[in-house]
């Protein structure tokens, strides 16, 4: 009897419910939800597609940065003395070479085959060559009056038999020093007379000139070093607390990530990177937003989220002495919600209703979180440093599925690697 009743019940429901076509009306909003899911998948596939390209770009960037890092600093001023592509050490012991690097001067030297030393200043070649008068302070004075020269010719074309010609002081005086002349040898005024010969330069004059060059060179190098952006990678780990609206129901989470920073000028640093965050928190159900209609509302919600935090921050250095640096900063973070797990707690443990809700990769908040931080950095050496950074993250938009005002405070501890330190250890 009982079996018959059971069978009858089963049959009634089976027959009544197994052919429900057209009983549920089509709803466009449901398709919109599915389309959003399909679009999300396409975007993720797109990201995967672009990853190799992005990786290549990153590799090229690192290559350029690496070259910049290991490039000898002396080469930064090669243009001061060498336009022929040859690298000539800029030392006082090779003063003659300095001038010899000037194409015209080199040619002149070649034309002095048989003469000892080969230096321009040492061997006046031509009998027509008139002695140079010396501008004792900073430059060369050429005896041949400027008005005698017919034109200025660049030295970039073949300059056989074409040499620095003598010119009156007032002509050459427009160059601040011999350094200026040497730094721009192509613009030297020359006679187009094929009989021009190398000018003889007094040794003392050249010494003074080279001192000026060296002085200027050092200044330039120093300026370039200071003005050059400083790049650093930082590995960070950060315990933090997260709460909704306040920290009264906060829970402890953790972060781990890699940051890249670029110093701009003396004071500013721009930082970006990626931080993986494990963010648990609790909230009362009153703050929780859901499209799902609960028969019996839960009392509280425990959430556990996995977030990829992509910050872009600007820090301003307020103190920087010896090995200590303190800066304050702000910026915006983009949250990519990788996983969101929500657990519902009911007042009555026996209440029937959903206990968990889990979603993945459905919510993204681009530049939706305001970052505020204070950083202290202690340099271990010129390459490495330790960072301690108390920070706070304030939401500018609702975060996650339930659109909560999720705020976070914590202290990040990091190890920095300055990849192009200005001072070699």
């Amino acid at each position: 009897m009982k079996t018959n009743t059971d069978d009858e019940l089963n049959k009634m429901f089976r027959e009544g419910l197994t052919n429900p076509v057209n009983h549920a009306e089509y709803r466009e909003a449901d398709w919109d939800d599915l389309e959003a899911m399909l679009d999300g998948r396409k975007k993720r596939r797109g990201l995967i597609f672009w990853l190799p390209l992005l990786g290549s770009v990153a590799a090229m960037l690192l290559l350029v940065l690496g070259y910049w890092m290991f490039k000898p600093t002396t080469t930064t001023n090669n243009t001061l003395v060498n336009h022929s592509g040859k690298h000539q050490p800029l030392t006082n012991t090779n003063k003659s070479d300095v001038l010899a690097a000037v194409p015209g001067a080199e040619d002149g030297k070649k034309n002095t085959t048989g003469s000892k030393g080969g230096g321009i200043q040492q061997k006046p070649i031509s009998t027509k060559q008139k002695p140079l008068s010396v501008n004792g302070s900073s430059g060369l004075a050429f005896e041949k009056p400027y008005r005698e020269s017919k034109s200025f010719l660049p030295l970039s074309k073949p300059v056989n038999n074409r040499h620095i010609a003598g010119h009156p002081i007032d002509t050459v005086a427009k160059y601040a020093s011999i350094g200026d002349i040497l730094s721009n040898p192509y613009s030297l005024p020359l006679d187009d007379d094929n009989d021009l010969k190398p000018a003889a330069i007094d040794q003392n004059t050249l010494n003074n000139a080279l001192k000026t060059i060296n002085s200027k060179y050092k200044t330039v190098v120093k300026k370039q070093t200071i003005g050059r952006p400083q790049f650093a990678f930082t590995v960070v780990a950060a315990p933090d607390i997260t709460g909704v609206g306040s920290f009264s129901q906060s829970k402890i989470g953790g972060n781990f990530g890699l940051l890249f920073s670029a110093g701009i000028g003396k004071r500013f640093t721009v930082t970006t990177g990626a931080v993986y965050a494990k963010t648990p928190y609790s909230t009362s159900f009153a703050d929780y937003h859901s499209v799902y209609k609960f028969k019996t509302d839960p009392q509280t919600v425990n959430a556990d989220c996995r977030i990829l935090d992509i910050p872009i921050n600007v820090d301003y250095t307020v103190y920087n002495k010896s090995s200590n640096k303190i800066s304050v900063g702000s910026g915006l973070s983009s949250y990519l919600m990788l996983k969101e797990n929500y657990h519902y707690n009911y007042a009555n443990a026996y209440t029937q209703g959903p206990t968990d809700y889990n979603i993945s990769n459905q919510n993204k908040h681009f530049l939706g979180v305001l970052n505020l931080d204070v950083s202290y950095q202690r340099k271990l050496n010129s390459k490495f440093g330790i960072d301690v950074q108390p920070y706070m993250k304030v939401p500018l938009t609702g975060i996650g599925y339930s659109k909560l005002k999720l705020q976070t405070a914590g202290v990040a501890v990091g190890l920095s690697w300055n990849i192009n330190s200005p001072h070699k250890p």
Partner: protein, 211 residues
Amino acid sequence: MVEDDLHDLISGCIQQDRKSQKLLYKALYGFCMGICLRYAGNRYEAAEIMNTGFFKALTNIGKYDTDKPFKAWIGRIMMNTSVDYYRSNLKAANTEDIENAEHIGHEATIHSKLNYDELLKLVQQLPEAYRAVFNLFAIDGYTHDEIGEMLGINPGTSKSNLHKARHKLQQMISQTETTIYQAPGQNRQAPMMVVRQIAITDILSNRNIRR
């Protein structure tokens, strides 16, 4: 829509053509929603389950064997997705063994013939754990061993939950029958009216008449 028409749409879906995907979705919406409504507590849950199932189907449509009926394939996906949903969201549902099940003395006799909306409403009023087992056993034809494996419970629990589900359904139907006999002077429309008075909101919600 006949199977041949479906196969045209399926070809478009394999090419990830969005128009074909939408047409297929519209064509099978009622069928799939019908399955999901049985397993879900309400229309919102059912829509969520159905979309998850459709997402799985559309992203794995290349694995579909075209020699077999497509509706059976996607129906199976919907059922599996419903079970997954149950398992991930309703871990705390009733899981008593048969030994602890209360004795059910009176078995009601089925006198009335209820329509689809009323039957669906009755099933949806079951607790989640009972509903899942009843659907799988009574409607989809699985054994208790299979149900135990699918839901992550032991077969005894499955039997217990089925037993309780039937008892609760019979109770609800008996209430309807009682209402019928309390008004003997009324015609055959009376039980329908009673059921509608009880569950009119949920039924309309299931049919998307009221949003």
